[in-house]
Structure formats: structure tokens, C-alpha cells
């Protein structure tokens, strides 16, 4: 709910005076426009014949929201201030992230020209975006574009402008990426911008993950950019879908090795590989590297989508699952001391 500033209209008399002034102003405008109205078309808007439907102007909201200005030098500088100032402080206070696996990006980082990549994290919360923006290493951080749901972030001008300026968000349809969106994203990658795409298409509705949609794989296939799988643990407990207020907690972000489509690999197969990689990182985040690799070799990493069954058992399993993670109390493993005799 918006809260208005305390009104300065203290009495009914004052209110009446304001209304009177308003009426007088609108009357004056109408009087001024009367001669033009009398002139009619073409000085006035034409009447629409009966039975004819005038096609609506294409919307400038949603997927059509223009965000090019948000990547200008001025907007970039403003965003850098926001990212490294309030956003970083917010993330530190609210999510206290532990970041692991950045060494897997070292080979790309040390290239003379660092290539654009597509970061593909799982998605549980609105906190995920500021979190990922602040933990992605340079040089990608300053050239990061976040693919954001067009119907949610770009449904009004103000919201869209704010998302574009602070997050460098780019509108994308959740279900089917339009040709225009995909062409523009491709152009962005070609221009050296890296992307954050949540392959799940939206925040998790129940705390478990969702099946990956093929956006990231499709773009990687079209552009040749590498996909960096990322697993974010803990944000679901901080501000998961449906939560009314933020609850401070701890998070863990695990970066995986960059993946590239194998020659001849279809988007669907590559997407499956990306999902498996994120699932393996999730397993690594909750257990350890060796357990995760052994399970990955057998295709047994716990699925991001959780158990097959529904109802209370699914929620019950989620609580158990969260206990293993960074957001909950971490289970201590038994420490084995060397036998020194």
C-alpha cells in the first residue's frame, strides 16, 4: 500500500476551495478549446465509423519496452553506483552470500578479450537478481544484462524504467521468446553484453525448482556464447514467492564450469545438460564435490524439481532439503582424525 504524505488540507472549507479552483481551471481549458472543436476534422480527431474496429497502437510495455537507453554510458555509470553501493550493502545484510566456484571461470577471465557468457541460475526469489549481479566477477558484472519477465517487470513505465536502470533488465517473454526478443538478445551478446537468464522462467512456486525452459540453450546455440550454470541456495527462505516480508538469512552461490553446445547438439539436449549441471552444483552445494560428481556420473543428482509426489510430503521433503543447505543449519559431518598411534 502506498502511504501518502500527511495532507495539508486541514478543513472541509479548504477542500471546497481547491475543488472550486480545479473546476474553474478545467472550464477555462474547455472554453479555450471550443473554437478548435468547432473546426472539426482534420483539426480534431476523426470519428470512427460504426462497425469499424481501429487496431490498437502497439503497446510500448511488456516485451516491447525500450531499454536501449539503459545501456548508455550515463546509465551504466549510475547503475555502477547503485550496484556497488546500496545493492551490495542490501545483499550483504539480507543474504550474506558465500560464493564458490569462481575459479572455474578463471580461464575465460584471463583471456585478452573476455567473451560474453550466459549465466543460468536457478530462481527462487526476487533477491536472486541483486545477489547474482553483485557476485558475478568482473569484467562480466559491468556488462551484465538480466533477462526479466516482460509481464511482471515491464507492465508499467515506471517499473520498467526502474528495472532497466538499476538491474539492466531486458524484457523477455516467459513462455515463448519472440523472434524480436531473441534477435535483440543475440545482438546484445554480439556487442559483448553478458546475460543472466533464469531458465526456469520464473520464481519457484513451492520452494522446489521448475523444469528448465530452453531460452539459455537456444541463445547459446545461436550465438556460440558459453553458458555458466549457477546454483543459488537459500534465497527461497529469504524472500520466496508468496512471502510477505524479507527474512534475513545466508546464501550460497556456486558457479559451474562454462558449457558450450557440442557440435550437432540440439537445443533440447543442451538444455537438459544445463539443467543437469545446475542440479549437480546444487548437490555440491548441499553435500560436497565428490558426492556430487559420483552421483552426476550415474545421473543420480537430486533433481532441482524435487520429489515426484505431491501434497504435504513434498513440503515435508522441502523442509528436510533446506536443512542441508546454507539457509538452514548445516549438518556437521563427522570428522575423522588421523590415527597417530
Amino acid at each position: 500500500m502506498k502511504k501518502y504524505a500527511p495532507s495539508r488540507l486541514h478543513s472541509l472549507g479548504q477542500l471546497r476551495r481547491v475543488v472550486k479552483v480545479g473546476d474553474a481551471a478545467s472550464g477555462a481549458v474547455r472554453t479555450a478549446l471550443r473554437p478548435i472543436r468547432a473546426l472539426g476534422f482534420p483539426y480534431r480527431k476523426p470519428m470512427v465509423p460504426k462497425g469499424v474496429v481501429v487496431p490498437a497502437d502497439p503497446s510500448k510495455l511488456g516485451a516491447n519496452f525500450e531499454t536501449g537507453w539503459a545501456r548508455s554510458a550515463g546509465a551504466k555509470a549510475a547503475r555502477s553506483v547503485v550496484t556497488n553501493g546500496p545493492m551490495r550493502a542490501f545483499v550483504k545484510v539480507v543474504a550474506s552470500p558465500q560464493v564458490v566456484g569462481l575459479d572455474r571461470l578463471a580461464d575465460l577471465q584471463r583471456l585478452d578479450e573476455t567473451p560474453a557468457v550466459i549465466f543460468a541460475p536457478n530462481h527462487h526469489s526476487h533477491v536472486d537478481t541483486p545477489l547474482i549481479i553483485t557476485v558475478v566477477p568482473e569484467p562480466w558484472r559491468s556488462t551484465l544484462v538480466v533477462a526479466a519477465a516482460a509481464d511482471y517487470f515491464f507492465d508499467t513505465r515506471v517499473k520498467g524504467a526502474l528495472a532497466a536502470l538499476t538491474l539492466n533488465a531486458f524484457p523477455i517473454d516467459r513462455e515463448v521468446t519472440s523472434r524480436k526478443s531473441s534477435d535483440e538478445l543475440r545482438k546484445l551478446i554480439d556487442d559483448g553484453w553478458s546475460l543472466v537468464i533464469y531458465p526456469e522462467g520464473g520464481r519457484s512456486p513451492d520452494g522446489w525448482g521448475q523444469e528448465f525452459k530452453g531460452g539459455a540453450a537456444y541463445l547459446a546455440n545461436r550465438t556460440g556464447a558459453a553458458v555458466v550454470p549457477v546454483f543459488i541456495d537459500g534465497t527461497g527462505s529469504i524472500y520466496g514467492k508468496g512471502m510477505k516480508r524479507l527474512k534475513r538469512g545466508t546464501t550460497k552461490v556456486v558457479f559451474g564450469s562454462p558449457l558450450r553446445p557440442i557440435e550437432g547438439e540440439s537445443t533440447r539436449r543442451f538444455n537438459t545438460r544445463i539443467e543437469a549441471a545446475v542440479a549437480a552444483l546444487g548437490d555440491e552445494a548441499l553435500t560436497d564435490f565428490w558426492t556430487a560428481r559420483k552421483r552426476a556420473a550415474q545421473g543420480n543428482n537430486p533433481k532441482l524439481t524435487g520429489p515426484e509426489y505431491n501434497g504435504w510430503r513434498r513440503q515435508w521433503a522441502l523442509a528436510e532439503h533446506r536443512k542441508l543447505g546454507r539457509a538452514g543449519v548445516r549438518r556437521r559431518q563427522n570428522r575423522r582424525w588421523p590415527d597417530l598411534g
Binding site: 578463471a106 560436497d288 565428490w290 560428481r293 552426476a296 556420473a297 550415474q298 559431518q333 597417530l340
Partner: protein, 529 residues
């Protein structure tokens, strides 16, 4: 295109040359017309796809089946890796060992191998700290294996966990880590920074007992090792190690050797000037040098050490090969030579060496006087093939502050060695006869080695023996800028300045000696013709 090594004949227009002086530098003017400076070859290009090269090496090993086909469920797999003494300075993450071991573990996971032990092959070196293990192996491997007791460090004094594999014709006993000996396969992950490393030396020293090491780590063998970095047939140490290797091959576990080589890109920004030739220093390099040396002059030594040991080298992998130990090592040496070998003509009367802040035996520690000797006469002096850079009876001049300063955690027995043994004798053979056993079997040193982070009690002897050949070859050793009483305790001559050192050297080599300076950081092998 990296430039090959270069021998500069010093003339009157040659600028002063950079010398290391421990945790600082100095510029020294060398006499024109009779001095030369050996600049090492520039760093080679690193592999563009390092992880791809590692996978390829595991899939296509030399003279062995692919690693994947050698692994099976229920087997005992042991992965051993080189310890913190390599590389120097430590490399930026991810370390080569982490990359290779992760690839091996991926293959083992795919093959369903559960029983995997990862062992730091540290021989008689100190146990690595947790942060060092994490740096070498990465957090992922450390967190997964250490808590389960499946990642640990070799203990050369744990007699219950050592086993005798066999004996050579010369009577050398091969005694190594029991877990490795009992394994169905031992994967050894090596970093070959210098030509001395790798091959059979990896396991027969890294996983061996004191008894086993004492057969070749002794004055006689090391005096006959000419040189450590040179031809194998001129190295008594390597000849002994290769005999032990044959025993290991015939009677030991199956070994899958993975060897890697690095380029010599050792110092990152802002220390690039160290790697450059002085006349190519830009204004920025000169300003950095001046700023660095002036500030280091006013920096407390502990802070200076912290700064230098915090440096992470940008060196990267230039090759990786896997398979049968000898076949692999042959190719590794070719890659080491590709980076480090350069031809130099003739010997000189004097060899000058700048001694840096670090040697293989003091990572994150103090470069004590014994290690100054070991680094100068053991390592840098031995950076040759065929014959030394200095003639027999010539003078070796080193630059180092040579503080009487020891790290009591890492080097407890070095302190007593300095006070007790060196005040008695500096002759390797004599100290070996009189003192070695006492230090090697001292219970307190043994305890510190096994449970703390101390080098083995006998290690200062080995560090001294490492320089035995240089000690025997040189007619005089002078340390410029060294603490005089400390330098005299080492049996060397102190000098305040380089000019003083040349003056002192004139007793041995006359008034117009020829001089060679080995530009350090130099990882080079001078092939002296």
C-alpha cells in the same frame, strides 16, 4: 612470440643490473668488458584450453591404457600430488593440481570408484597448512575429502603405514607409503617447475621414508650430482632414484604418472619489472622499482615477507602428459627444456647470484641462512648442464641480507643446526658422520614433523647437502649485504658492497676476473659449452 634466452656482454653503456636481496632488490653495476648477464628465455604461451588438454592426456596416455579403462568399482585408488614447495611463487587459482585431480576424480566417479585417497607427497617436508591445501587442491576437493579422512599428508615417520617394496642391486631399500603400495592404481600428479623434478623422483621421494631417502640424500651422492638440472647420467642422485624406480616398477603398485610443465611468467603486476631486461624498463617500471625498493627499505621485515609471500604468480600450464612414468617424463623434460634451456659458451671466474625471498623450503616462511646457502649453491648454482657457469675454484657471490632469523614452527631443527652443527663444521661429509643421526632420530623434531608444520629433523642437513657440489666446486663464497657473523658461521665471507666483493674475490681470481650474472628470477638451464 617469446624471445629465447639472451647473454648480454656488459659494456660501458649497460645499465646497472637488478639483483634480488631477499625481500628487496638492488641495482649493481658490473664491470664492463669482462662481465656477462644471462637472461632466461621469455615465458612460453600457455595452453589455450588447459582443462581440454588434461582430459586429452587422461584419454590418450603414453604407453598405457586410458585412465578410464584402468578404473573399476571396488578398486583402491590413490592420488598423490606434489606439495607446497612447488610452484614458486604459488600460482593464481585454480592451481594445476586442482585442475588435474578434479579431472581424475571425474573419471573415477564415472567408473564407480569409491575408495579414493588423496595424499600430499611431501617426503620430509613440512605438513601443509589447511589454507595451502585449499589453494593447491581447491575448496571443493578439500571439503569433500578432508572431512572424510580421505585427504591427508604423507608421514615418513609412521612406520605402521610404510611398507618395503624391495631393494636395488646397490642395496638401496625402497620403503614407501603403505596405502600407495597397496593400491590397485596410484595416480601421481606432478608439477615440473625444474628439470630436477618428476619421473621416478616423484614417488620415491615424495612418498618415501627417511630410511629410503637417506640412500641418495647424502653428501657423497650430492657431491657427485653434476648437476641436479643437467643430464641424468651426470647426476648420482637421479641414478640412485632411477634404480629405486625400477624396483617400484617391478614390485610396486601400478602407477599412472601425470606430469605438467609451467611457463616462467612468475610475477604479476606491479612486479613486472623483475621479469624484464633493464634497458627495456619503461618509466612506469622505473617508478615502480624506485617506489618498491624505497618503501621496502622502511618496511618491517615481517610485513615485507607477508607482502612477498602473498604474491601469486600468473604462470600457466604449457604441457600435460600422462601414462607410463619414464615415457611421460621424457616428454616433460622436452617441454622443460623448451622453456628453460639456453646455450652459454664458456665458464667464468665469478658467478653472481641474487637470492630471492623464497626457496622451495620456505613457502610462507622465513628464508633462513641455511636456505640462503641451499638456494644459492643448491639450486641456482646447479642451473646448468655439462659444466658449471663458474670455473672450478672460482668465486660465487650472492646478494642477500642473510638475517639470523628462523621460523620456529617450520624450521625448528634448522635453529639447532645453525647453532650446534655449523659452529662445529660446515663440511657436509663430516656433519653427516657426526650429527645427522642425532637430528634424524630426535623425538621432539619427529613429533613436530608428524603433528605440526615442521620440516623433518634431518632436513637442514639435506638442505646443506643440496649445496655440497657447489661448495666443493667454488673456491670462495661471498655474501654481499649479509649479516657478517651469520655469513661467517656459514663458512662464507661477508661483503658490504658488490665492489668490496670483487675486491675480496681478487685474492682467488685475480684483479680482472670474468663474471657471469644469472638474472633471477631465472628458471633456466645454462647449457655450458
Amino acid at each position: 612470440m617469446p624471445r629465447p634466452g639472451f647473454v648480454l656482454e656488459v659494456d660501458r653503456s649497460t645499465p646497472p643490473i637488478l639483483f634480488w636481496r631477499g625481500e628487496n632488490f638492488s641495482l649493481e653495476k658490473l664491470p664492463a668488458g669482462r662481465s656477462r648477464v644471462i637472461y632466461p628465455p621469455e615465458p612460453l604461451e600457455a595452453l589455450s584450453d588447459i582443462d581440454g588438454a588434461i582430459r586429452n592426456a587422461l584419454l590418450n596416455p603414453i604407453d598405457q591404457d586410458p585412465l578410464a579403462t584402468q578404473l573399476f568399482p571396488g578398486m583402491k585408488l590413490t592420488i598423490a600430488f606434489d606439495d607446497v614447495s612447488l610452484p614458486l611463487p604459488k600460482m593464481t587459482r585454480p592451481d594445476v593440481r586442482q585442475r588435474v585431480i578434479e579431472a581424475v576424480l571425474d573419471t573415477a566417479a564415472a567408473a564407480g570408484v569409491d575408495d579414493v585417497h588423496i595424499i600430499a607427497a611431501l617426503g620430509l617436508h613440512r605438513r601443509m597448512h589447511e589454507y595451502e591445501l585449499r589453494h593447491a587442491l581447491g575448496d571443493r576437493i578439500y571439503d569433500a575429502f578432508h572431512t572424510r579422512g580421505m585427504l591427508y599428508q604423507h608421514d615418513a615417520e609412521d612406520h605402521d603405514n610404510l611398507t618395503v617394496i624391495g631393494t636395488t642391486d646397490e642395496g638401496e631399500v625402497l620403503e614407501i607409503n603403505k596405502r600407495a603400495a597397496d593400491s590397485d592404481l596410484v595416480v601421481y600428479v606432478n608439477i615440473n617447475s625444474v628439470a630436477m623434478d618428476g619421473g621416478w623422483k616423484s614417488i620415491t621421494t615424495g612418498l618415501a621414508s627417511y630410511r629410503c631417502l637417506s640412500f641418495h640424500h647424502n653428501p657423497e651422492t650430492l657431491q657427485n650430482t653434476k648437476s641436479l638440472m643437467g643430464h641424468r647420467h651426470q647426476s648420482a642422485l637421479h641414478t640412485s632414484v632411477w634404480r629405486l624406480g625400477k624396483v617400484l616398477k617391478d614390485h610396486g603398485p601400478k602407477i599412472f604418472q601425470i606430469e605438467t610443465t609451467l611457463n616462467t611468467d612468475m610475477f604479476p603486476s606491479p612486479f613486472e619489472f623483475i621479469n624484464k631486461r633493464e634497458w627495456e624498463w619503461t618509466a612506469k617500471d622505473r617508478a615502480t622499482f624506485l617506489g618498491t625498493t624505497k618503501s621496502l627499505n622502511r618496511t618491517p621485515i615481517k610485513l615485507a615477507r607477508k607482502i612477498f609471500h602473498g604474491i601469486e604468480g600468473p604462470h600457466q600450464m604449457t604441457s600435460v602428459q600422462a601414462g607410463e612414468t619414464e615415457a611421460v617424463h621424457k616428454i616433460t623434460l622436452e617441454h622443460v627444456h623448451r622453456q628453460q634451456l639456453m646455450e652459454v659458451h664458456g665458464q667464468t671466474d665469478i658467478l653472481t647470484l641474487g637470492i630471492p625471498f623464497v626457496s622451495p623450503y620456505n613457502p610462507d616462511g622465513v628464508m633462513n641462512p641455511i636456505l640462503v646457502m641451499c638456494m644459492g649453491l643448491g639450486y641456482l648454482f646447479n642451473m646448468y648442464r655439462n659444466k658449471p657457469l663458474v670455473r672450478e675454484g672460482g668465486v660465487v657471490i650472492m646478494t642477500h641480507p642473510c638475517y639470523r632469523d628462523f621460523n620456529p614452527v617450520h624450521h625448528p631443527s634448522y635453529i639447532d643446526f645453525f647453532e650446534q652443527v655449523l659452529s662445529d663444521t660446515t663440511d657436509p661429509a663430516e656433519m653427516s658422520r657426526k650429527w645427522e643421526k642425532q637430528y634424524a632420530e630426535d623425538e621432539w623434531y619427529r613429533h613436530l614433523y608428524r603433528t605440526g608444520n615442521a620440516y623433518h629433523g634431518v632436513h637442514p642437513f639435506y638442505a646443506w647437502y643440496w649445496g655440497a657440489h657447489g661448495l666443493q666446486h667454488a673456491g670462495k663464497v661471498i655474501i654481499v649485504g649479509g649479516d657478517p657473523p651469520t655469513v661467517r658461521r656459514l663458512g662464507f665471507t661477508p661483503a658490504s658492497t658488490m665492489d668490496d666483493a670483487f675486491e675480496i674475490a681478487s685474492d682467488v681470481v685475480g684483479r680482472s676476473p670474468t663474471i657471469t650474472h644469472l638474472h633471477v628470477p631465472a628458471l633456466l638451464i645454462a647449457d655450458v659449452q
